[in-house]
C-alpha cells in the first residue's frame, strides 16, 4: 500500500495558482524528493499533506487518511519538520524532547532520539545556545520523538554550510534505515540526488518530471559527444549515442584521422534540471 497518494491536486491563493494538478504516489519506506525552485508549489503541496491547508481539488490520502479529516491516530503517526520554526529558547534540548514526547501515546525513548540526531553532548544546553545546524537537528529530533511512520522534511538544509549539510544528509539517510517513509522538499539538486529514491521535479505548480535520480538523467536525455576537428570543437547531441559514435569513429578511421579530444558524456542531473527549468520560460 502507498504511504501517500495524490491525484489531481490543485490549490490557489486568490488569483495565484500555486498547485495546478499534481499526481504522485509514495511507497512505504521510500524517500521521496520534491525538487523545484522557490515558488514552484513544494511547500503548498507538503502543507496540504500535513493537514495545514485545504485543497481546492483532487484526492489525497496520507497513511490512509484524508489530511483534511484526519482521524485521532493521524498525528500520532506523522512527524513534521517545518521550513522555519523555532522552539522555546530557554528550555534544554532534553526538556524540549520530553515536552514533545508527552504528546504521543507511544513515544521513543528521549535519550535515544537525542543520540540519534547527534545532540548527546548538548543534551542539557539551552536551545538558544545551539548553532543553526544543531537547531535543525533538534527540529528533526522533536519530529521523531513520537516514532512516526512518515516524516515530512521541508527544505531541511536551506542555509546550511557544506559541513552541516553533509551531517544532515547522514541523519536523513539514517531515517531510511529506520524504515520511515520520508517526503523531502528541496531546491538543491545534489540533495535530491543524494537522498531520494525518487524525485518529482516541480515547476509552476506542475510535475514536469518524475523518476529515480538515474532515470531523470537517462530518459530521453540526449548524450553529448564532443571532439575537435581542425582545431574547432564539434558538439553532437543525440539520443542514439551508440549509432552516432559508431558512424563518427568509422568515418574517422576511414580517413585515417584521430578524433581529437573525444568525449562522450551524459548530462548531469543538474543540467537536466536546468534544462527543465528553462523550458518554455
Amino acid at each position: 500500500m502507498s504511504a501517500i497518494s495524490v491525484r489531481g491536486l490543485r490549490k490557489s491563493y486568490g488569483p495565484l495558482e500555486a498547485v495546478r494538478g499534481v499526481d504522485f504516489e509514495i511507497e512505504e519506506g521510500e524517500v521521496f524528493g520534491l525538487l523545484g525552485p522557490n515558488g514552484a508549489g513544494k511547500t503548498t503541496t507538503v502543507e496540504i499533506l500535513e493537514g495545514y491547508r485545504r485543497r481546492d481539488a483532487g484526492d489525497v490520502s496520507v497513511l490512509g487518511w484524508d489530511p483534511q479529516r484526519p482521524g485521532r491516530e493521524f498525528r500520532q503517526r506523522i512527524g513534521v519538520v517545518l521550513q522555519q520554526a523555532q522552539l522555546w529558547p530557554n528550555l534544554t534540548v532534553r526538556e524540549t524532547h520530553a515536552v514533545f514526547a508527552g504528546y504521543y501515546e507511544r513515544p521513543r525513548d528521549v535519550d535515544e532520539v537525542i543520540d540519534l540526531v547527534g545532540l548527546t553532548e548538548k543534551r542539557d544546553a539551552r536551545v538558544k545556545t545551539l548553532s543553526g545546524g544543531q537547531k535543525r537537528r533538534l527540529d528533526l529530533g522533536v519530529a521523531l520523538v513520537g516514532d512516526p511512520d512518515l516524516v515530512f522534511l521541508d527544505e531541511p538544509t536551506t542555509g546550511f554550510d557544506p559541513a552541516a549539510r553533509r551531517a544532515a544528509w547522514e541523519m536523513i539517510r539514517s531515517l531510511r534505515s529506520l524504515g520511515k517513509t520520508v517526503l523531502l522538499t528541496t531546491h538543491y539538486l545534489d540533495e535530491a540526488e543524494q537522498l531520494a529514491d525518487r524525485v518529482a521535479v516541480l515547476r509552476e505548480g506542475r510535475i514536469v518530471r518524475i523518476g529515480t535520480p538515474r532515470e531523470l538523467t537517462t530518459t530521453d536525455a540526449e548524450v553529448e559527444i564532443r571532439y575537435r576537428r581542425n582545431g574547432e570543437e564539434v558538439l553532437v547531441r543525440t539520443s542514439e549515442p551508440t549509432r552516432v559514435l559508431h558512424e563518427l569513429t568509422a568515418e574517422a578511421i576511414g580517413r585515417g584521422e584521430e578524433l581529437d579530444r573525444l568525449e562522450v558524456r551524459r548530462p548531469t542531473l543538474e543540467e537536466v534540471y536546468l534544462a527543465l527549468m528553462d523550458d518554455g520560460q
Binding site: 500520532q76 513534521v80 520554526a85 522555546w88 508527552g102 504528546y103 504521543y104
Partner: protein, 248 residues
C-alpha cells in the same frame, strides 16, 4: 487529562525559565507596590495607603500577567511558528489553549500570594478577611483579561511590535483606572475614559473585597462589566486568532 497536565507543566517550565518575561510581568507589579508604597502615606479610601495600593496593584498584576504577558507570549509563539509546529502534534488545540490559560491563572495566583506576603512583611498590610471572595476576584479577573489577551494577540501583526502595542494599552489603562493610585482628582474626561475600561472594574472589585470586606457576589455591576469585556475578548479571539505566522 494527561495531556492537559503534561502541557500545564510544560507551560510553567517555559514561563519561569524565561527570565525576561517573568521579570516584566511578574516582578514589575511587585516592584511598583514596594516603590509606590514607600512614597504614598496617610489614608486612601479611608484605609492606610499601602492597603489601597495593594488592592490596586493586584488588579494591575492581573493586567500584566493575564493580558500583557499572555498576548505577547502568543504573538511571539505564533510568529516563531511554535504554534504551527504544535498543530502537527497530537496535542488538541483546545487542550493547548486551556493549559496555557490555566498556567497563566496559576502565575497570577502566585503573584497575589507574593503580593500579600510582601505587603505584610514590608508595610504590615493585613491578609484578606474575605479570602474566598478574593480568590473569586482573582479567577474572574484572570479569565476575563486572559480572554482579552488572546483576542489582542490576534490583532497584533508582528512579534517585534507586540511589546510596544501591549504597553501602549496597559500603561495608560492602569493610570486611568486607578491601578496606580486613586483617580478622584483627575479631570472629568479622563475619569470618563477610565470608567469605560475593564481594569476599572477589577480595581473596584479588589477594593470592595479587600478594603471594604464586601462579598464578591454583592458586586454585580463590576462582575457584569468584566464578564462583558471577557466576552468581547472571546469574540475577537474566535474571529482573529491565528495559529500560523503571517505570510512572509
Amino acid at each position: 487529562m494527561r495531556l492537559y497536565l503534561h502541557q500545564l507543566k510544560a507551560e510553567q517550565l517555559v514561563y519561569w525559565r524565561s527570565r525576561e518575561a517573568a521579570v516584566f510581568t511578574f516582578i514589575f507589579p511587585l516592584l511598583l507596590f514596594v516603590l509606590l508604597g514607600s512614597v504614598y502615606s496617610g489614608r486612601i479610601y479611608g484605609v492606610p495607603a499601602s492597603q489601597a495600593l495593594l488592592a490596586a496593584l493586584l488588579a494591575y498584576g492581573c493586567a500584566m500577567v493575564a493580558f500583557a504577558g499572555l498576548s505577547i507570549t502568543l504573538v511571539l509563539r505564533r510568529e516563531a511558528a511554535i504554534l504551527k509546529r504544535l498543530r502537527a502534534t497530537p496535542l488538541p488545540p483546545p487542550v493547548y489553549i486551556l493549559s496555557l490559560l490555566s498556567s497563566t491563572i496559576l502565575v497570577f495566583l502566585a503573584e497575589v500570594v507574593v503580593l500579600f506576603l510582601l505587603g505584610r512583611a514590608v508595610f504590615g498590610t493585613p491578609f484578606p478577611v474575605r479570602a474566598g471572595s478574593l480568590v473569586l476576584v482573582v479567577v474572574l479577573g484572570a479569565v476575563c483579561f486572559a480572554a482579552m489577551g488572546v483576542g489582542l494577540s490576534g490583532l497584533i501583526r508582528s512579534g517585534e511590535g507586540s511589546s510596544a502595542v501591549v504597553n501602549l494599552i496597559v500603561l495608560p489603562m492602569a493610570f486611568l483606572t486607578g491601578a496606580f493610585g486613586p483617580t478622584r482628582h483627575y479631570p472629568q474626561f479622563l475619569r470618563a475614559i477610565g470608567d469605560a475600561l475593564p481594569l476599572k472594574y477589577l480595581v473596584d472589585l479588589s477594593n470592595a473585597v479587600y478594603l471594604h470586606h464586601q462579598s464578591f457576589w454583592s458586586q454585580g455591576t463590576a462582575i457584569g462589566v468584566l464578564a462583558a469585556w471577557g466576552a468581547v475578548g472571546v469574540g475577537v479571539a474566535l474571529a482573529k486568532f491565528r495559529w500560523e505566522p503571517r505570510e512572509a
